[in-house]
């Protein structure tokens, strides 16, 4: 049995269950407690768990994220909300020099079981500084784990896996997904945990593989429907779910099956997730390709504000269909 939850509710349920399971789990961030979360993901949790477990911080990203990393070294399991992942820049030193490196530098003496979560996306007309999509950036730092759930079930399962993980895990959510709904397994039927590093075939197909993560999965699924209905093209949609660890086997399996690939990636083309996946495909499955790997990314410029145009800067079903048709 499963129920229909929003992505937001699924995340909240995952957080709530982990708060109940492990007394060392703490949620922290700007407006997460009394204000109920800037995006209402943490709504009600302060009331339920109180000041000790749900903590409002000042607008001091470097300070409170560094604090979370320090606390995690001592065995606290902080889940830090970044109001937007775009604000990683303020805490970048803590995120990449401390969280990513301390285990390595200490020869494995110190672990950092911290989770950083919050929305990382474009598409809400908030302009360049608020629309960074940095999963590819953080995946480039060994020591960090990065995931980007596309559905409510994956959001719940991945946040739970992230909290239990003994390494720093960065969960890239999406404001435009928070309100979307989907089936989520009932807690009565057992613990729903989605392991990090396991991709998921969201739609079976035979003619072409659309490989995506995060909100791009939704666009890829919509494009696949159009391709089937209007062009008789059967597209498989592979949802990466985790960026690092990356499920290379699943990527290669779908390429070997369909022999054609379009990568859909909301991050930028230069050095983004799709750049990495394309490289892996040509290194390990070149002989299976019937056409060059193609990509649909965010147009290579800082995010434009204008509501009239921003959606065309991002991947969308129309752009994906066009790209697939151009490969015939």
């Amino acid at each position: 049995m499963s129920r229909t939850l929003t992505y937001r509710e699924a995340l909240r349920e995952g957080l709530d269950e982990e708060l109940a399971r492990d007394p060392n789990v703490v949620l922290m961030g700007e407006e997460v407690a009394q204000y109920n979360g800037a995006y209402k993901v943490t709504e009600g949790l302060w009331k339920k768990w109180g000041d000790k477990r749900i903590v409002d911080t000042p607008i001091s990203e470097a300070g409170f994220i560094g604090m979370g990393i320090g606390a995690s070294m001592l065995g606290v399991r902080p889940v830090m909300e970044l109001m937007f992942w775009s604000f990683h820049s303020v805490a970048f030193d803590q995120l990449v020099n401390n969280a990513a490196c301390v285990r390595y530098m200490s020869g494995g003496l110190i672990n950092c079981p911290i989770v950083m979560r919050g929305p990382a996306n474009g598409g809400t007309n908030v302009g360049a500084t608020h629309s960074h999509i940095p999963e590819g950036l953080f995946a480039a730092f060994p020591g960090l784990k990065v995931c980007a759930p596309a559905t409510p079930a994956d959001a719940k399962g991945l946040i739970k896996a992230a909290i239990r993980d003994n390494d720093p895990v960065y969960v890239m959510e999406n404001t435009l997904l928070y309100g979307t709904t989907g089936e989520v397994p009932d807690p009565a039927e057992g613990d729903h945990v989605v392991p990090l590093g396991k991709a998921d075939v969201k739609r079976e197909g035979t003619d072409i593989s659309l490989i995506a993560h995060g909100r791009s999965v939704i666009h890829a699924l919509a494009a696949a429907e159009t391709l089937q209905a209007e062009h008789g093209i059967s597209a498989e949609v592979l949802d990466l779910r985790s960026i690092r660890p990356l499920d290379v086997d699943a990527i290669l399996a779908t390429v070997r099956k369909t022999n054609r690939v379009v990568l859909v990636d909301e991050s930028k083309p230069f050095g983004g997730v799709s750049a990495m996946v394309a490289t892996l495909i040509q290194e390990h499955a070149f002989d299976y390709l019937d056409a060059p790997v193609k990509r649909v990314c965010t147009i290579d410029a800082p995010a434009i504000y204008s509501p009239h145009i921003e959606n065309q800067q991002l991947p969308n079903p129309g752009r994906i269909v066009e790209k697939v048709l151009s490969m015939r």
Partner: protein, 360 residues
């Protein structure tokens, strides 16, 4: 500063050097500028709610005397920079309602061609270095503008505005240290409206007495100002600006003020973290426009009718700007790729090969 402090009787700054020589026209102009900001934003709110704009809308309503009072002191080489709550400063430096409204509509005729939106108004030709989105991120930039002035040997200063929430960012503290260490003519204006989103100043800042007092740790001058009194804003800011211009001394000014609306329109229900009585008290007793209007009427500078007329003209101007914005063209997909690199907008070899971009 708490409401209680605000409610105690305060000094009258009408007679201070910078205010006593104001002509009636100049006084009316100060009033008009505050009213223009309010009408502009009320109009923006109306069309935002009608779905004409995207993203955030951070209203400045209630805080008008801060921008108008401080920016009215501008001399040729003075500069201004602020955060995302930037409409008031933009209009005060002389940006037009049309270009500002069109920016919010995301149109080509906007001051940033629809690329920046409500949080990113700029007019460097007017000494206005804009609206910035990362809390505290503008504070080192303000430092840099001051450094530039000093380096280029120009007598001027930079006013860098920030909120009471932004004072807790590391970048601000680093800026204060460098400002004092290098003797740079930067003045940090903390617009203390009591809240950063839903978090009150008391819940976000560890402080003794007031936020500006942190200046002492950096051997810097500071002052506290009642932001509902435009004369006080001008009088005290003028002292700091003159000191900055002449002696290149930085300062922190904490101006107590209040925003009537939520942090942004997304949090329209600002009453969740503030009592209706608190909001009403500010509107009734500390509104900078009402107080100044009352004063000018009492002084015989204008009549109630004339004040109403000024308000109406501002509302008409704002309505016209919405019409202008509505009728302006939207950017196109090709516009996404302009303004990224200098070469791509200027006819150079590099722009012809297109090697800057990595689109398929």
């Amino acid at each position: 500063m708490s409401t209680a402090q605000l409610d105690t009787p305060r000094l009258d700054f009408a007679g201070s050097p910078i205010n006593r020589d104001l002509t009636p026209d100049q006084k009316i102009d100060l009033f008009r500028q505050m009213v223009r900001i309010r009408r502009f934003e009320q109009t923006a709110l109306k069309y935002y709610n009608a779905g004409k704009m995207g993203g955030f809308l951070h209203l400045y309503i209630g805080q008008e005397a801060v921008a108008v009072g401080t920016i009215s002191l501008k001399l040729e080489n003075d500069h201004f920079i602020t955060a995302y709550r930037d409409h008031g400063h933009a209009l005060s430096v002389g940006m037009g309602m049309n270009e500002c409204m069109a920016e919010m509509y995301g149109k080509q005729t906007g001051c940033s061609k629809g690329k920046g939106g409500s949080m990113h108004f700029f007019a460097p030709d007017k000494g206005y270095w804009g609206g910035h989105g990362i809390v505290g991120g503008q504070t080192p930039l303000g430092l840099g503008l001051a450094y530039g002035l000093k380096y280029l040997e120009k007598e001027g200063c930079c006013l860098c505005y920030l909120g009471d929430g932004a004072v807790n960012q590391g970048a601000f503290h680093e800026s204060l240290n460098i400002a004092a260490l290098f003797n740079l003519p930067v003045i940090y204006v903390i617009e203390n409206n009591g809240y950063s989103m839903g978090t009150s100043q008391k819940r976000s800042s560890s402080y003794r007495g007031c936020l500006a007092q942190r200046a002492e740790g950096y051997d810097m001058e500071w002052d506290v100002i009642d932001g509902s009194d435009i004369y006080e804003v001008r009088a005290k800011t003028h002292i700091a600006m003159e000191r900055a211009r002449k002696e290149q001394k930085p300062a922190i000014l904490e101006i107590s003020t209040y925003r009537y609306y939520g942090h942004s329109v997304a949090d329209a229900n600002a009453k969740k973290y503030r009592t209706p009585e608190e909001i009403e008290n500010y509107k009734q007793n500390h509104d900078p426009i009402t107080l100044f209007r009352r004063r000018l009427v009492a002084e015989g500078i204008f009549t109630e009718e004339q004040a109403d007329q000024i308000s109406k003209e501002a509302a008409d101007e704002a309505a016209a700007s919405a019409k202008f914005a509505e009728e302006s063209p939207a950017p196109t997909v090709a516009d996404i790729m302009t303004d990224v690199y200098w070469e791509s907008d200027n006819n150079t070899e590099a722009s012809k090969t297109g090697w800057h971009f990595f689109n398929d």
